[in-house]
């Protein structure tokens, strides 16, 4: 397996069923899509905002459309994919609630990762300095950050509950360490998890996918 510095890539690789159809939103230069194709035989498509990113994807033989998740997801037909992946960009969307709804319209399942603004380091930074936190996961000052809709773990699970979205699995991600299965509603996790990654499904969707290569219970167990 190719080495990736992003733990969330490894987790996503574990979650995705081999041979499935995947749309990655904000696919950058296509690193994850390429891994998904080579490791899981996935039929992958991408949506990427930058022309340079799309060009890099083209050179890798990936099918990627230049576009903006805030506006262009509406162009995709319903149920076109098994998975829609949105890695660390939900907090940069103008309308995260609508984007989440769109992901689960286009795909049966969504894999979403977000930085946790409830992490103790963030809270400490705000408490101690009285300024918008600048941490390793949130490196830019308030006036230049792309993260315009930050949330805590609790905020995210509340939104899922509000939308009737089922959280099938969730993992805490901390830089340099393997992913750890967690129960996102626990208060401690809202302090401990730097990043969180969720496998989401639509209301009314079967919880366990009989075609899945991995049982949901041991998705994050190592």
């Amino acid at each position: 397996m190719a080495v990736t510095s992003r733990e969330d890539f490894r987790e996503i690789l574990r979650l995705v069923r081999p041979g499935s159809r995947v749309l990655e939103i904000g696919c950058g230069e296509g690193g994850l899509l390429e891994l998904l194709a080579s490791e899981k035989g996935v039929d992958g498509r991408g949506l990427e905002i930058s022309a340079a990113g799309v060009s890099a994807c083209l050179a890798r033989g990936l099918a990627v459309v230049q576009g903006d998740a805030d506006g262009d997801l509406a162009d995709y037909p319903a149920d076109a994919f098994d998975y829609a992946i949105l890695s660390q960009t939900l907090q940069q969307m103008r309308d995260p609630r609508r984007v989440l709804t769109e992901l689960l319209r286009i795909a049966e399942r969504a894999i979403v990762s977000v930085p946790n603004f409830g992490h103790w380091r963030v809270r400490w930074s705000l408490l101690a300095h009285g300024r918008m936190p600048v941490t390793r996961d949130l490196p830019d000052p308030w006036w230049s950050t792309a993260n315009i809709h930050l949330c805590t773990l609790r905020d995210f699970t509340d939104l899922c509950a509000d939308l009737g979205v089922r959280i099938e699995a969730s993992a805490a991600l901390t830089q340099g360490r393997p992913a750890r299965q967690m129960e996102p509603s626990r208060l401690m996790e809202n302090l401990r998890a730097e990043q969180a990654l969720f496998l989401l499904s639509r209301p009314g969707q079967r919880t366990a996918d009989p075609r899945s290569a991995v049982a949901v219970d041991d998705l994050f167990d190592r």
Partner: protein
């Protein structure tokens, strides 16, 4: 290539075109398993000379930035076919050809043709060259429309498709500009109701004006401003109607150079074919249905930010339909101020995207 009387071309207008001649040029060698053939489709006033030297003008081919050794379409690796569209005037059967039934120049007796007719003729040529499946069908502007038509009519005969600066149908504005051009030609007394060839005349003034108007739509306001601004040809104004401004002189030159190489009736027929183009129309009004059989084709759609002839939303409509048809599509909008004509010009980001797509498609095809 001349086709026999048993191989007449069926046209959308229900007419048949006999004694069909298709002028074409090839670059590179067809490989042993005949898998490396590329069809390059030209735009409104283009021809089969996409690379190398043009035999009549002596100028480089119209796509010498893209077709050539070390370029995205490399004849060292690919067998590149470029044919003059039917209705054209560079050797393929068109209104300036001799009507075999009368022995006289067709003129307005030439049947009205469509983009689908052009593509049907190309498919006959590809057949005659012994090629079953093309590695790629590539074209910009009207060439891009032919690419889309290929995907609708012969999806099983193509591995990949590149549609550049194009549209799935002609808009009201597109038709309006073409109508101005046609009226300019028809208002020229030397047009002689289309029979100028028989009467030893040429509607050069009208054709030049048509070209001048159209040429503006191929550029952008900022490119014109950057290139010419309000610069004068000579010191001071003439206080008359000479070409005072450099932009006037430039347009007059474009018009004059065009009439040397193009036939006025061909201009009428080909602009008509473009105006009639509406790919969704033949598929229940749903563009995605046109691509229903093209799921296995790798598509690359490219547009330019400053193209106001076929602006990016047109390409997005194509991409949306391809997505709805679950086809394999990539799309990039290239940032440039050079307008529609950017696809002929030195645009490194465009060429990089094109090369990336074609090289990876070639690898997938085992080329």
């Amino acid at each position: 290539m001349r086709f026999g009387p048993d191989q007449s071309l069926r046209l959308d207008s229900r007419a048949r075109l006999g004694g069909l001649e298709i002028a074409y040029r090839t670059y590179g060698q067809l490989n042993a398993d005949r898998s490396n053939a590329v069809l390059v489709c030209h735009a409104l006033t283009g021809d089969q000379h996409c690379a190398g030297e043009h035999p009549t003008t002596g100028r480089p081919g119209w796509w010498n930035q893209v077709v050539g050794r070390g370029l995205p379409l490399d004849p060292d690796k690919l067998f590149i076919i470029c044919s003059n569209v039917i209705g054209g005037c560079m050797g393929s059967t068109g209104p300036a050809s001799i009507n075999p039934d009368t022995g006289k120049v067709y003129g307005l007796n030439f049947p009205v043709i469509t983009i689908a007719d052009m593509v049907r003729a190309q498919a006959m040529l590809v057949d005659a060259l012994g090629i079953e499946t093309l590695f790629a069908v590539v074209g910009g502007s009207m060439g891009g429309m032919q690419v889309l038509q290929w995907a609708a009519d012969y999806p099983e005969r193509m591995f990949s498709a590149v549609c550049i600066a194009s549209a799935p149908r002609h808009s009201a504005q597109n038709i309006a500009f073409h109508e101005v051009g046609r009226q300019a030609i028809m208002a020229d007394p030397d047009w002689r109701a289309g029979a100028y060839a028989d009467q030893g005349a040429r509607p050069e003034k009208g054709l030049a004006v048509a070209r001048m108007g159209a040429h503006i739509t191929y550029l952008s306001e900022s490119a014109l401003q950057r290139k010419f601004g309000r610069e004068l040809q000579r010191d001071g104004l003439s206080w008359g109607f000479d070409a005072d401004f450099q932009v006037e002189s430039y347009l007059r030159h474009q018009g004059a150079a065009f009439v040397d190489r193009f036939d006025a009736n061909s201009y009428l027929y080909i602009t008509r074919a473009l105006d009639y183009f509406d790919l969704a129309q033949g598929h229940g009004g749903v563009l995605a249905n046109a691509f229903a059989q093209a799921r296995d084709v790798r598509f690359c759609v490219l547009s330019f930010t400053s193209d106001w002839l076929y602006p990016t939303p047109e390409s997005r409509t194509i991409v949306k339909a391809l997505n709805a048809a679950a086809a394999r599509v990539s799309f990039v909008e290239i940032e440039t101020d050079k307008g529609h004509d950017a696809f002929f010009l030195d645009e490194p980001v465009f060429h990089g995207a094109l090369r990336g797509f074609l090289d990876s498609a070639a690898a997938a095809r085992g080329l």
